[in-house]
Amino acid sequence: MSSIPADAHAHAAHVEHAHHGSFLTTYVFSRDHKVIGLQFLFSTLLWFLVGGLLALGVRWQLAYPWSDMPVLGRMIASQMGGQIAPETYTMLFTMHATVMIFLVIIPILAGAFGNFLIPLMIGADDMAFPTLNMLSYWFMWPAMICFGFSFFAPLYFPEGQPPSSGWTSYAPLSLTNGGGQTLWLIGLTFVGVSSMMGSVNYLTTIIMMRAPGMTMFRLPMTIWGMFITAILQAFALPVLTAAGFMQLTDRLFGTGFFIPEGWAANNSLHASGGGQPLLWQHLFWFYSHPAVYIMILPAMGMVSDIIACFARKPLFGYKPMVYAIAGIAGLGFIVWGHHMFVSGMNPVLGMTFMVATMMIALPSAVKVFNWLGTIWGGKIHFTTPMLFALSFVSMFIIGGLSGIFMAATPIDIFIHDTYFIVAHFHYVLFAGTAMGVFGAIYFWFPKMFGRQMNESWGKVHFLLTFIFLNGVFFPMHILGMVGFPRRLADPYQYETFHHLRPLNVFMTWCAILMVASQIIFIVNFFYSIFFGPKVGRNPWHANSLEWSAPSPPGHGNFDFQPIVYRGPYEYGSPEVDTDYYPQIQPPPEGAQPAPASH
């Protein structure tokens, strides 16, 4: 530990960074990446809860259609005495997806962890553009306000209606829905602006501000995940923002980008025409398919770091892992059409997209094999973060494999828009990303707050979440095989699906218990912020740079100049006696430099 100077020595370096601001500039309009990261973390966790409760509304309707929903029903359907009306049901699944994707997963990965970890892990004192960084958080607020108010659209729009066109907002349905949809589109634009500011900042920071010795191939996988994600966002997001504007002008000014000739709805003929509804789907998925990778790559990176740390072994195949992420990102731009196999798109085009989609399964497989390779022959410590990270691998295998069914075009004809696809993306996004995020919270909590979360309660939280999530999502594959359609308020009136209700009741109770299990997490999280046991700089004995900074790091992050000597995965290196070998630790005198990793 000789390489880390005592805090006293560092004081001088520290003061130079500190600017004496008021409470407002320190904690609210802060330009410090760590504070911004935590702001993102708290807001997204709050919305996570909202999104989870919306999902319970959906689940209740599927288990007990048209019956009064206790407690929550009073809140979301008070005028109906707790009964979920079909209009409410369409709102519920629309807003569940919107909240989870745009206000939780994307901002918690890029906004919270990206902000907090990037400067710390590359050895920088802050982001390249701190003010832009602050704005990227504060542009989330108009978005949150728009999405939040859109729930109450009926109150202040004539014939208003909360957003209820699905999170995909397919035209022309989204052009006919009242009021709330306009707010939804404005909210989406703000989310886009916020992500854009973030991604420009992350790219510049990672390229320009790495500490001496921190070559690109010494970056931790977390940073690689964030880096590639930022590229995806920078190049794909403008398309969605433009498309959102086009839909907005279609709604407000009748521009007709997505309105076909002679189109009538709501008993009125729209004069404008000459547009094409399929154009919206192409533009939407051109962003929203890469967005799927935006929602998983950073989690893959964080999981790689956690697994290597608790297997006490170098990451297996570091470079193939990097290439796999890059491959996923590259292919990610040319597979959007697989959302549109039965949309009426040219079937020849369908074949092309099918081949590209099949190929994108390859880098995912390579990543899984390398994670398995990493724990092979290691010494696995089953800490809470490790359990969540391992469950990411286990669940991602399911989510990845079920993607092959959808990629196969003839099979997709049958299972498209059924619960099979709902199973698939929940295995990737909840069982994958959200579990990875939980692991990351437990893992980096000591760095964020200088205290540790309770391990035993963390494991209870893990076990309950792991069991119930599979109880909710695994049977969805079976439902999909029966053809059970998604977004349907009452599927049981169909003869084909009539017998599926008992299974849905089981899934709903698993969902309720899963949400209830999160209370353990919430209590543990807030209790530990104030009363958790204090920890030093490196409680997990990890290698990467952030663990050599104080916990929590002060303004300017490092109280010494970090110099990087090696990659972040030298666990159990024969060069040193300890089973870890921090990136900043100079090699012992006369030691041969470690062979280049390959």
Binding site: Y170, K379, I398, I404, P410, I411, T418
Partner: protein
């Protein structure tokens, strides 16, 4: 507690496989298939299910075994200090590539049959999705659409001949819908401003569900139709009856002098 977590992860492949084994006994499986294409799609599904199932069991069991064997509390051997293996990377890149390419090419024929090789038969019926019903228009005795003898039905009940190649013209009047016949394994979104074709051959007479599979508004859940496949003679008799009914209505509606 030493082995506890490994065993928890073992539950994933065990219960996962068990779910798929038990489900058919409770009829939680494909709905009965009454078409020619359906058999091909089901076979493809089962092929991919076996393949991915094998990979699923293999990888999940490997994960379990490593968690069991390399537990820090029981594994006292020094770790294998390895940064990877070039050979392994090559192997586990090439194997999935070949497999995935094989799946991709293997199923192209079924896709072409379903969506690209339009049969050379006259149009059986025109189906129009609207909020929230499926309207049908039959060409009538002359076999040509858009002529005065067309037969219109607005009750969401579609009749079609069995054991014949059926060619439908499908379209939408307002928003997106999706014409989904679970028992035929076929689905096609209908897009306003875009007339499309759909074709299949039903093999078993009977009455089946028509599901709208694309969100089309608050009433999406009740956009429910039924399709009846019947032998040619019954079908023609039914058409005649519907035609007569329609003519009677038309006459009745003519203002009397």
């Amino acid at each position: 507690m030493n082995r506890f977590w490994a065993l928890v992860f073992l539950l994933v492949p065990v219960l996962g496989v068990a779910t798929f084994v038990v489900a058919p006994y409770y009829h939680h499986w494909f709905p009965p298939d009454v078409s020619e294409l359906g058999r091909v799609i089901d076979r493809l599904f089962m092929f991919v299910l076996w393949l991915t199932g094998a990979v699923f069991v293999a990888t999940e069991c490997t994960l379990f075994y490593f968690m069991w064997k390399y537990n820090a509390r029981s594994n006292h051997e020094p770790i294998k200090f390895s940064h990877g293996s070039h050979t392994l990377e090559v192997v586990w890149t090439i194997l999935p590539t070949v497999t995935l390419l094989f799946i991709a090419i293997y199923q192209m024929n079924a896709w072409a049959d379903a969506k690209m090789r339009k049969p050379d038969v006259p149009i059986t019926a025109e189906i129009t999705g609207r909020q929230f019903n499926w309207d049908v228009r039959y060409p009538g005795a002359d076999g040509v659409l858009n002529t005065p003898d067309d037969i219109f039905r607005y009750d969401g009940q579609i009749h079609l001949p069995v054991n014949e190649e059926i060619l439908l013209l499908i379209q939408s009047r307002d928003v997106l819908h999706s014409f989904f016949l679970p028992n035929i394994r076929i689905k096609q979104d209908v897009v306003p401003g875009m007339a499309q074709n759909m074709w299949f051959k039903a093999k078993v007479p009977g009455e089946y569900d028509i599901v709208c599979a694309e969100l089309c508004g608050w009433g999406h859940y009740r956009m429910r139709g039924r399709v009846t496949f019947e032998p040619r003679a019954d079908y023609e008799a039914w058409l005649k009856r519907m035609y007569d009914e329609q003519e009677a209505k038309t006459v009745a509606m003519t203002p009397s002098e």
